[in-house]
């Protein structure tokens, strides 16, 4: 077991004037782990990642990263602010909001420049990352002119140039074509094998089944209802049904129409017995 990267203790969060979006959440993330945060739409997954990235702050309870409690003061005060931003990268759900520079090259250089790295180091990182992602041909292109898959690649590449030890990914597979999705699975595996900690928020069970070992499941009333191995969670169909990650699905086998919960894109086994109509 590695050392704790994040320690979330009894955290509540609500938007100003709104209902709670996180309710008494507590867990730890160890170094090198790859974790999924699962939950239905509006269960609080994205908000939780924003808390881990020091963009939002707990209304009650504490979120600590690398042993320091995340507060507005701590994430804005050097040297912790700089170290924290260098160590933690955040892939936003909407790539459009993450790609704000004029060219792909500038996009990749933005993070390292803000971290005050030397010009030579910035250039080296940009070149290496463009090569790693196979997007050298996009260097001078405007992010606006890229396809959805290319945008996601550039957004991820723009984090990699900062050299983060922890990467938070918000719905990384959303809207990707199968080839780009497979590329992403393989890239996340490469990061994991290199010791990078990955926290992925998603409701795409087939994607996270390939990319994580442990999962946190948020219920629709914004509570943490499961924290354990991914495969155990996938076998617990009642749990997945209760948090709206799967649904009871009616289908026909020859003349028999029956209904039962199962994961759509994964292998499953069931009996045709009394439930058949």
């Amino acid at each position: 077991m590695g050392k704790a990267i994040f320690r979330v203790t009894d955290v509540d969060y609500w938007y100003p004037g709104g209902k709670p979006v996180l309710n008494s959440i507590g867990f730890e993330v160890q170094e090198g782990e790859r974790i999924a945060v699962l939950g239905a739409n509006a269960s609080g997954k994205s908000t939780l990642l924003h808390l881990l990235d020091g963009l939002y702050f707990a209304c009650t309870g504490k979120t600590a990263a690398f042993g320091t409690v995340l507060t507005e003061d701590s994430v804005e005060t050097p040297p912790f602010s700089r170290e924290f931003r260098q160590r933690v990268g955040f892939l936003f759900q909407n790539s459009e909001s993450q790609l704000f520079c004029s060219t792909v090259e500038e996009e990749l250089a933005f993070g390292p420049l803000q971290l005050r790295l030397s010009a030579e180091e910035v250039e080296r990182r940009v070149d290496d990352t463009l090569r790693l992602f196979g997007i050298e041909h996009l260097r001078a292109r405007s992010p606006q002119a890229l396809s959805g898959g290319e945008k996601r690649k550039v957004a991820l590449a723009s984090l990699i140039t900062c050299g983060p030890r922890v990467i938070l990914l918000d719905e990384p597979s959303a809207g990707l074509d199968p080839r780009t999705q497979q590329w992403l699975v393989e890239f996340l595996d490469l990061l994991h094998r290199s010791g990078i900690t990955l926290v992925t928020a998603s409701h795409d069970l087939s994607f996270v089944a390939e990319t994580v070992d442990r999962t946190l499941i948020l219920s629709e009333d914004h509570r943490l209802v499961y924290d354990g191995p991914m495969m155990d969670a996938l076998r617990d169909l009642d749990l997945l049904l209760s948090v709206n990650l799967i649904h009871a699905h009616a289908h026909r086998h020859d003349e028999k129409l029956h209904m039962h919960p199962h994961l759509h894109e994964m292998w499953h086994e069931h009996e045709h017995g009394t439930e058949a109509k």
Binding site: H50, D53, L55, E76, S81, R82, R85, Q86, V88, G89, F90, F92, N94, E96, S97, Q98, L99, F100, C101, S102, T103, E106, A109, F110, G111, L113, Q114, L115, R116, A119, V122, A140, S142, P143, Q144, A145, S158, L159, C162
Partner: protein
């Protein structure tokens, strides 16, 4: 189970067709024109692959500033016309469609002509009349202002108007050439490297980047409305719809701005933008800069000698 009315709705195609064709709504026309103009300008700069587009943006911006600034010092019509001929030749040599140049010329210079036209008459510029426009007769007044017996175009007035028009057209053609042969991002880089404040440059770049996105969002909102519209509503209902659309776009803009700010903070932005270092100018860039300065110096010298 679908509600009863779902499948029992009458056949709308049996309604009598309208006698006249419906006009496109002004909102749709404006959005379509804006999107088209933006796409044209963005693709236009990418299409030009002339020698001008290969010059380092800093050198190019500096060279064009010398030419545009110099043009404002030229007095003689001949040097101004020579500069216009050179700029027009450069536009054509850069592979830019003459239609694009014509569009630029038909817009701003014609507007300038309308503004300067009174200066060509003896109402503003005294001189030898060459064409009488209106006979007013002796003692004509406009409030307390004594008018001449006839309003005429004068030789001096014509020279003033021609000088103004040529100078404006020169500057616009040069500015158009700069924009059309420079990638938008490179143009902003060039301006930044010429000393434009970093934060201002960043804001301009982001504005350019997100303008297209928001325009697309506005178009999508409008298309979504159109896809559910069978007949045009009253002016009041259209106004309500436009207001709702603006509200929706504002909410999207606000959310996008918030997310973008978060994404910047997440990558280490702390309120002070840091940008990369400048590349060294190449021999070709320096030659271009010297060439621009030499052309302008020659024109100013000729202007003074004539």
């Amino acid at each position: 189970m679908l509600p009863d009315w779902y499948l029992s709705t009458g056949d709308l195609t049996r309604e009598r067709p309208r006698a006249h064709r419906r006009k496109r709504s002004p909102v749709r026309r404006a959005l379509a024109s804006l999107a088209e103009a933006l796409a044209r300008e963005m693709s236009g700069s990418a299409q030009s692959h002339s020698w001008l587009s290969r010059i380092e943006p800093r050198a190019k911006v500096a060279g064009f500033m010398v030419l545009i600034f110099g043009a404002t010092f030229l007095q003689g019509l001949l040097p101004l016309a020579v500069l216009l001929a050179c700029a027009s030749f450069a536009v054509l040599a850069s592979g830019i469609s003459p239609r694009r140049l014509a569009r630029v010329w038909l817009g701003v210079p014609l507007f300038s002509l309308a503004i300067i036209l009174p200066a060509a008459t003896n109402l503003v510029t005294a001189g030898t009349p060459i064409l009488t426009l209106l006979h007013l007769g002796p003692g004509a007044k406009l409030w307390s202002w004594m008018l001449p017996d006839a309003i005429s175009i004068t030789t001096s007035g014509l020279i003033v108007a021609a000088r103004f028009l040529l100078r404006t057209t020169d500057c616009i053609t040069l500015a158009f050439l700069l924009v059309a042969t420079t990638d938008q991002a490179a143009l902003l880089n060039g301006l930044r490297r010429m000393g434009m404040p970093r934060a201002f440059g960043m804001v301009l770049a982001m504005m350019q980047r997100y303008l297209a996105l928001l325009l697309r969002a506005a178009e999508e909102i409008h298309m979504a409305k159109l896809s559910r519209t069978i007949a045009a509503g009253s002016v009041r209902s259209e106004q309500k719809w436009v207001a709702a659309g603006i509200g929706s776009l504002f909410r999207r803009t606000h959310r996008l701005a918030q997310e973008t700010h978060d994404a910047m903070i997440s990558r280490g932005y702390d309120g002070d933008i840091r940008v990369g270092t400048m590349p060294r100018l190449r021999a070709g860039d320096i030659a271009y800069l010297v060439g621009s300065a030499a052309v302008m110096a020659a024109l100013i010298l000729t202007d003074r000698l004539l």
